[in-house]
Symmetry: C2
Subunit: 260 residues, 2 copies
């Protein structure tokens, strides 16, 4: 038996492992095995050393989910009623989830899959709130397991099934679980300013705009600005960092950019 | 796209396919391929003929789930904190679920997996209520999909992960979805009296006791009596029938034993 955690709310760490980190983003359904192994080593060490007590992992889709989603024209705002498309996206994501779980199990991390398609809904349509009940995740955590969620399909009123991103799940979980800290680990070392330097700290929405306005890559900064705004809205402090920062984050340090 | 269902609550049919029906119960992880194919034929025909508008399928564990659960000493009241045991039970059930889904997809049934381990919890322990949020299932139904649930592991306070039976899920879903009808299809032709005859109708708890008291097989009748009591407590009428009754049930008839 795992030791039951008798700790209250507020001890949980929510860790996002970006799809770009754990997969080869340009080759369909290809794992970045080395990066994933390194990330799983860091998670296993943190749990066995006790620097983290209560961990939820959320991973992105990378070349597994995104490939199929774009092939079928499915996104967070455009759904599909074609069950073949739903199963392609969900199947690829559960395959990736199984690969992540297997590497965690090899390192004695008591990881348990939690599939958003089984769990979540957008009952008010593509522009409505995400309904993500956390009973299963919270109870798994309390019982000493490590729930592992992922980007997935999600049933959406009047749209069939749309995509729910790992980032959206991170924000929902952090709020609902009253997380202590949130970590977003990807292939960039943090939120970058117009000169490509890591911004050490962002604590207001204005600072986001100022810092990111100078960036060349409009697309990326647009996406990053939205992500930063969502993380800023959380009660819990969040850190955005690269693979090099994961061990430090799990030790309680603040690598990359601290948000909020 | 599937046609969106614009019908309100009360149209949904919840169909349980017993583990004993779709697997060879005495041989570990062995499908009863013929029975499963017949059941999937009946489901596909009912949907294409429009005799059912809104269907949720729940399947039992049969020789997939039960084998691993008993090997690890896990039951509805005895949990495990061993992630290997959890993954053995859940893995076997998701394998069976994939086999069921594949056969439904072959017949153009828009079946989508909903895994209870991702969804459900017993937050008050083994004797507490099952928390089974139905947002995903309800929205999938409204969007024209056929959610397929199954017996599974479930996170349970102070007990790790216990088993949730397909029967328990049927009762919860039927209540929460305000189902119109519930069908329990297994290898017995209905609820049998002491002489082995099918009881055509049971509508009071007293009738259950009277009818089943005479039965020789104490174990079976004990289990059946509990099942009948749970079905009696539902608002929706339930039918308990064998493989021969499935087509009739899906046409709106009442084969086997009608309960409630």
């Amino acid at each position: 038996m795992n030791e039951h955690r008798e700790t209250g709310a507020g001890d949980t760490v929510v860790l996002k492992l970006g799809g770009s980190l754990i997969t080869e983003k340009d080759r369909p359904e290809t794992l970045d095995g080395e990066s994933l192994a390194d990330a799983c080593d860091a998670v296993a060490a943190a749990l066995s050393e006790g620097t983290v007590d209560g961990l939820v992992v959320v991973h992105g889709g990378g070349s597994f989910g995104h490939h199929h989603a774009s092939e079928h024209g499915v996104s967070t705002t455009t759904g599909t009623g074609d069950v073949g498309a739903v199963m392609d996206v969900h199947g690829a994501m559960t395959t990736l989830n199984q690969l992540v779980l297997a590497r965690l199990h090899e390192r004695d991390v008591p990881a348990v899959p939690v599939h958003p398609l089984s769990l979540a809904a957008r009952p008010d349509g593509v522009n409505g709130e995400l309904d993500l009940p956390i009973g299963s995740t919270a109870t798994l955590l309390e019982e000493g397991f490590v729930p592992v969620l992922h980007g997935d399909g999600v049933a959406t009123a009047d749209a069939g099934v749309t995509v729910v991103s790992g980032d959206e799940i991170v924000v929902e979980l952090a709020t609902a679980l009253d997380a202590r800290r949130v970590g977003v680990c990807s292939t960039v070392p943090g939120v970058l300013d117009g000169d490509g330097e890591v911004i050490r700290r962002i604590d207001t929405v204005e600072a986001v705009a100022d810092a990111l306005d100078g960036s060349d890559a409009t697309d990326v900064s647009g996406g990053m600005a939205a992500k930063v705004r969502e993380l800023l809205a959380l009660d819990a402090p969040a850190s955005v960092f690269g693979a090099d920062g994961l061990v430090a984050f799990l030790r309680g340090e603040e690598p990359g950019t601290r948000i909020g």
